[in-house]
């Protein structure tokens, strides 16, 4: 599991380097890699989250520096690598010092493949919808809409988590 987490961290760094060769972004990636390495070695989940945030910031900076045309596929890969880093470390913490059934790793890999495929389909659908609505929406309102959408999605997530928490407690 820790190998999978390490592989994901390396993939994040490589994707960052492929996005832009700028040295400042590379330094940010190295910092993220270092944090991820410490998190994997010490089984610290919070540090892995911090590493994820650093990688994300680096990726945003890389996109901003390059100003390249929109390409969803590498971004999706980056998002998947980020998710795999966090989940594999979470699993590594869970199985630490335990007798592991062979099905655990297989099940995780199967789950990730399904998630990857689902994310790809969802991204394609989202892009198609965005292309459809882009012409209809006024250009000046788009930042406001994006901010409202972001806020709305975070709020929906928070409500879902709260409901899931109370639902789980009831069971």
């Amino acid at each position: 599991m820790r190998l999978l987490a390490a592989g994901s961290a390396v993939a994040l760094f490589v994707l960052l380097r492929l996005t832009t060769p700028a040295p400042a972004v590379a330094v940010g990636g190295l910092v993220g890699l270092l944090l991820a390495a410490v998190a994997i070695a010490a089984h610290w989940r919070w540090l892995a989250t911090a590493a994820g945030c650093v990688f994300l910031t680096g990726y945003a900076a890389a996109l901003w520096v390059e100003s390249a045309p929109v390409n969803i596929v590498p971004a999706l890969g980056f998002g998947l690598a980020l998710f795999f880093l966090l989940e594999s470390l979470d699993l590594a913490c869970c199985v630490r010092g335990a007798a592991i059934d062979g099905g655990v790793v297989q099940s995780a890999l199967r789950r990730w493949i399904v998630l990857g495929a689902g994310a790809f389909v969802a991204a394609m659908l989202a892009m198609a919808l965005a292309t459809l609505f882009a012409t209809a929406l006024p250009a000046g309102a788009s930042p406001l809409l994006a901010a409202a959408g972001a806020l709305g999605s975070v709020w929906v997530l928070a409500v879902m988590i709260r409901r899931a928490h109370t639902g789980a407690e009831r069971t």
Binding site: L63, V70, G79, L91, A98, A126, A168
Partner: protein
């Protein structure tokens, strides 16, 4: 079963929120795509997850063993609904060590699937341990929700103190009425020849001493000494202990008591026990295998319970502390209250032997070697020599057992001393 959302959700939430925020700030749609897998995983929380349905059964290879023995715990998990990940934390009594396997297991189970997991535990310390509690945590597909509960099904495991075979045992002064291994001064049925007397009507022909009869010209019969048993009361000091488990003075005292009880019961004696400490327990003298179980029951639970109260032996019923019983006091002599109780028994005329478990050697074994520690131990030894000398001046037979030397070595000196005392008396 208690369910809750895991901290992993917060972690994913932080990443998703940060990606979306950066996406809005930098006006790059790729960052929304980065957040997509995380958001999709979080979206699974919207689905009301069914409570995982499973059953757990466990068994242990043996429910009784001696100190240092090992037991195999086997846990069988059967899933009635699919379980993405189940974590099981098997019982591990304090002080025990896992010899083979792990006492924690993580597995994935399909609906209707059953799996077994086992591990071996070594239990170095006596006591009654419960191996019936298993902590279970079930995670959902992405580890966002967990359900926790404890499967409790009491499964006691009795770890008996190690027993050594003893050949030299302190001999009691008084014999009792039942048949045993001690040659009684009283004459009657037995094997050991005692005296001869003139034949009387009712004597059996096989009792006739032909040699004496021929020499003296009259029929003489051989009288024999009766073989009788004795009452032994083991008095265990549970007021104080030193050393590191499982080699504290109390653990060693318990082993000595169990060994003495086994040896005396093997000689058909009646053995009783008094656990003298913060909490007093006693077992009235008895014989046989069942009595051994009764004695061990008290010995397994023997522990130091701190108290300021000096316990009076008058509270012990006379049927437990029989005046003609041999009392063997097993003590490290750390608490003056026990010394006082021993002197009290001696003053009341009890046949008494004091078996002192030397705390100096036990403490030395528990401490790292240092010049200051060695000096302290030497000074302590001198001080204890004075205490033991004082007990001996009261006429008490004091046997000092210095572990790791065998208990037999300490008991041999008792046999010699008591034979000499008996012949003097």
């Amino acid at each position: 079963m208690t369910g809750r959302v895991t901290p992993f959700v917060l972690s994913l939430m932080a990443i998703a929120a940060w990606a979306v925020s950066l996406g809005v700030l930098s006006a790059r749609p790729e960052l929304f795509a980065v957040a997509l897998p995380t958001l999709l995983a979080l979206a699974t929380l919207a689905r009301r997850a069914p409570r995982p349905d499973h059953s757990i059964a466990r068994e242990i290879s043996s429910n009784r063993l001696f100190e240092g023995g090992a037991v195999t715990v086997t846990v069988t998990v059967a899933a009635r609904s699919p379980i993405a990940l189940i974590e099981l934390l098997g019982p591990l009594p304090p002080g025990s060590a896992v010899l083979a396997g792990r006492h924690r297991a993580v597995m994935t189970l399909g609906a209707g699937r059953t799996t077994r997991w086992s591990y071996e535990v070594r239990l170095p310390r006596r006591g009654v341990h419960d191996l019936g509690t298993i902590a279970v945590r079930v995670r959902d597909r992405f580890g966002l929700r967990t359900w926790e509960n404890r499967h409790v099904d009491p499964m006691p495991l009795r770890v008996y103190p190690r027993v050594v075979a003893l050949r030299s045992l302190p001999r009691p002064v008084h014999a009792q009425a039942s048949v045993g291994d001690y040659v009684s001064p009283a004459l009657g049925e037995g094997i050991e020849p005692g005296d001869i007397r003139q034949f009387a009507p009712g004597d059996r022909i096989k009792q006739v001493n032909w040699r004496a009869s021929l020499r003296l010209g009259q029929l003489y019969v051989t009288q024999r000494h009766r073989e009788r048993n004795a009452d032994i009361v083991l008095m265990l000091d549970t007021l104080a202990e030193v050393g590191a488990p499982p080699e504290t003075t109390l653990d060693l005292g318990v082993r000595a008591a169990a060994s003495l009880a086994t040896a005396y019961l093997g000689r058909k004696d009646r053995v009783g026990l008094i656990s003298y400490g913060g909490v007093m327990n006693w077992v009235r003298p008895g014989s046989g295998r069942v009595q051994y179980e009764r004695l061990v029951d008290v010995l397994l639970k023997a522990e130091v319970v701190f108290t300021y109260v000096a316990k009076d032996l008058l509270r012990v019923p006379p049927r437990v502390l029989w005046p003609q019983a041999l009392v063997i006091a097993i003590t490290p002599l750390l608490d003056p209250r026990f010394t006082k109780a021993v002197l009290d028994l001696a003053a009341r005329g009890f046949d008494l032997v004091v078996l002192v478990v030397s705390p100096v050697e036990v403490t030395r074994a528990a401490l790292a070697s240092s010049p200051a520690g060695d000096l302290a131990c030497r000074l302590w030894t001198l001080e204890r020599r004075t205490t033991l000398g004082e007990l001996r001046r009261h006429g008490l037979p004091v046997l000092e057992w210095r572990p790791p030397e065998p208990l037999e070595a300490a008991l041999v000196s008792a046999r010699r001393r008591r034979v000499r005392l008996a012949s003097a008396g």
